[in-house]
Symmetry: C2
């Protein structure tokens, strides 16, 4: 511990090698439109896992698998009794996913280890790449299932019982591809966890920032709303005699949009699903259903927004003689990342001479669940037009390389701090 660590400043990832690796693995499940269809625990997922294991073992890493299928590839440090500094993301994709979501974070972690190995750099703590199982949730709900079990948000046996559309359980699918490991998921300790990810939004690109220093994940509240009036004939019911549930829903869609805009710049609110019944062209709808997705980094603001929505709903229902119900079906409090991780990322970006801004993640990521049991942090890089979960998803070779470079330096920064006892 007293021996000075190797100078880290000169260490640089190989952007071309990272890019080649991204493009190479993108062929496993590659789609005609340039995306990836690599659903979790399919044979394609097995192929990319096998590939990953071979690459990690080629670097001299020991690869462990836990009973949720999460993979841990460890490069030794000077002190193997110290919990590793972990970094990674996921290799599963949406059915029409892009080449960067999850993959960038996992393969950039591999690039970090390749860089360390190539330079012979010795870290204080072990450095461990993690590939989390079923981040996407496209085949098995919920999303983030392995990191959720790791962080204590879900029970392992409940996760095993989740079924895909064909009735196959998560547990069966995991065993079928040979990735149900012996280690209990969550038993492993991390000194920290860093995840590099594409932003999946437009902010960094719009502000021409290279790096997002992610301070946390915003809170989310999901609601189902139903308005009930009375079905009536579109031709014979005067406007004044109507109890049109869809007019009420429309008023709420606008109110929800307005409420989000009244809490700038971070509040967002979305109505993604709507249904009018009986859904006939010449019947005034007596029933309307819609979803609400509210997000903000601050729980008090979420509470205020919910209050404002409830007030708008009461006014709308009263005004249009409708009955209204609003059910909160899910609530996820905001998750702040660990200050030591945030500062490590900030210093790393500065060391690399990159432009950076703080940013709150709009989406949940594996790091959010890991943060329940270990210090965690995230690095965002821009993606074109903010498009994600789409075969057109794109970040350039340079953007990916900058993210990987900050990931490397953040890990080494944390490692130095850890060695020095903070």
């Amino acid at each position: 511990m007293n021996k000075p660590l190797n100078p880290a400043h000169n260490l640089a990832v190989d952007g071309a090698r990272l890019w080649d690796t991204l493009m190479e693995t993108a062929r496993i499940g590659g789609t005609a439109k340039g995306g990836i269809n690599r659903l979790t625990l399919t044979d394609l997922d097995r192929q990319v896992r096998d590939w990953f294991r071979v690459q990690a073992e080629a670097l001299g890493c020991a690869v462990a698998i836990d009973d949720m299928g999460a993979m841990y590839a460890r490069r030794k440090g000077r002190r193997d009794d110290v919990p590793p500094i972990a970094l990674g993301s996921h290799l599963d994709t949406q059915p029409t996913g892009g080449k960067f979501d999850g993959t960038l974070g996992t393969l950039a972690a591999l690039e970090v280890l390749r860089t360390l190995e190539a330079s012979g750099y010795e870290t204080y703590a072990p450095i461990e790449i993690v590939n989390w199982t079923n981040e996407e949730g496209s085949r098995f709900a919920p999303a983030l299932i392995a990191s959720g079990v790791f962080g204590g948000a879900f029970e392992r046996d409940w996760a095993y019982a989740q079924k895909d559309r064909d009735g196959t359980t998560f547990g069966e699918a995991l065993a079928a591809i040979g990735y149900k490991g012996p280690e209990r998921c969550g038993s492993r300790k991390f000194s920290a966890f860093f995840e590099l990810h594409i932003e999946q939004g437009p902010i960094l690109e719009r502000e021409e920032k290279d790096i997002g220093i992610v301070t946390g994940v915003q809170g989310v509240r999901w609601f189902d709303c139903t308005l009930t009036g009375r079905d009536s004939h579109a031709g014979t019911t005067p406007m004044a005699a109507r109890r049109d549930a869809l007019v009420g829903a429309a008023r709420m869609v606008e109110a929800i949009d307005r409420i989000a805009r009244s809490h700038p710049p971070l509040a967002v609110a979305t109505v993604g699903m709507i249904e009018a019944r009986p859904a006939s062209r010449n019947v005034v709808p007596g029933e309307a259903h819609f979803s609400i997705d509210l997000r903000h980094p601050d729980d008090a603001t979420l509470e205020t927004m919910e209050d404002e929505i409830r007030a708008a709903l009461a006014a709308t229902a009263s005004d249009l003689k409708l009955d209204a119900t609003l059910d909160r079906i899910w609530s996820q409090a905001p998750i702040p990342f660990h200050s030591r991780c945030i500062e490590a990322v900030r210093r790393a970006a500065g060391l690399c001479g990159l432009s950076a801004r703080e940013i709150v993640s709009g989406a949940l990521h594996d790091a959010a669940y890991v943060s329940r049991v270990a210090p965690a942090g995230m690095i965002f890089v821009p993606c074109k037009d903010g498009i994600s979960h789409n075969e057109e998803e794109f970040s350039s070779q340079e953007q990916c390389a900058r993210g990987a470079q900050v990931l490397l330096q953040a890990v080494l920064d944390f490692d130095r701090q850890l060695a020095e006892g903070f």
Copy 2:
């Protein structure tokens, strides 16, 4: 022609007999909830047709069937060379229809003939009950198919080729129940056609009027509207960066409602169907579709409303950075009824001492298509809460009897005018 006609003033329908007849036939296809499920050209339709033929023949009527299955039951007049004064409606129902829609007009016509027969009253022109095939359009589209062929709106062979959900054609179903007659639909002439119907709206009940003197059928325009923005992540896309098609659709639903209310009291506008895509709770909808149903008795007002909707759509699309298309998929100009028929109904209501108001029909009826080839008119009676196309549809025995009484007197009024050469 010079011989004075019998005095008609004393003639009165038998309200109890009409009610009993309504309740008796309601058992053919009667539902547990008190409605009728008697889809056109089913065996239940055959049963009620057979019943109707027996009743008409018992009155001494000659029953003819045309090649669209329309039934004509004629009571002779003094001048059988004069085209008959026709009256009637339809005996088919919606799948969850009520006991009055169509049935009242047909069975009240039967009650009129029973009253004439019982009193020995001799009319100048023959009086003829019509039972039109497939008014509802629930099994075979379009609705009003037989009166449409009669009035020249549809081609018979096109009508024959229309299929139900099982792939059976209208022509096959018509032959299968034995009601494809020899007479060419539309070859028959009428001196006039009167149709009694429940209002299917709330106006008469609200204003406590016994009788609606129907002056015509309002015009209808149907549209499909599509708004296109961009799908984006509900968590990561700031409000300012969104192109939310559903927010645009919501603004249009409200604008359409407002535009109808700005042309009181007769304009109505309805959005009955709406869809947001990709219809995911956490995706900002990049696409929204909805229907528009516009109605007004005056074509110029319809035109103005359409212009106002197009202007609102252009403003909404520009404001929210959306693309918009509005397709007019159907247009039915307003149909005025014949002044002689309207006046006959007005005088009949006065003669019967009933409260009446002019009203424009919000829905199409067989009389609308017949009006293309013969003077036509309609009589409305109130129905509870304006509810129709519903098993709860209800008009009281007294309301039905009053309608039938006005129908009787309107027919006799027209007959006297006809005898006197107007």
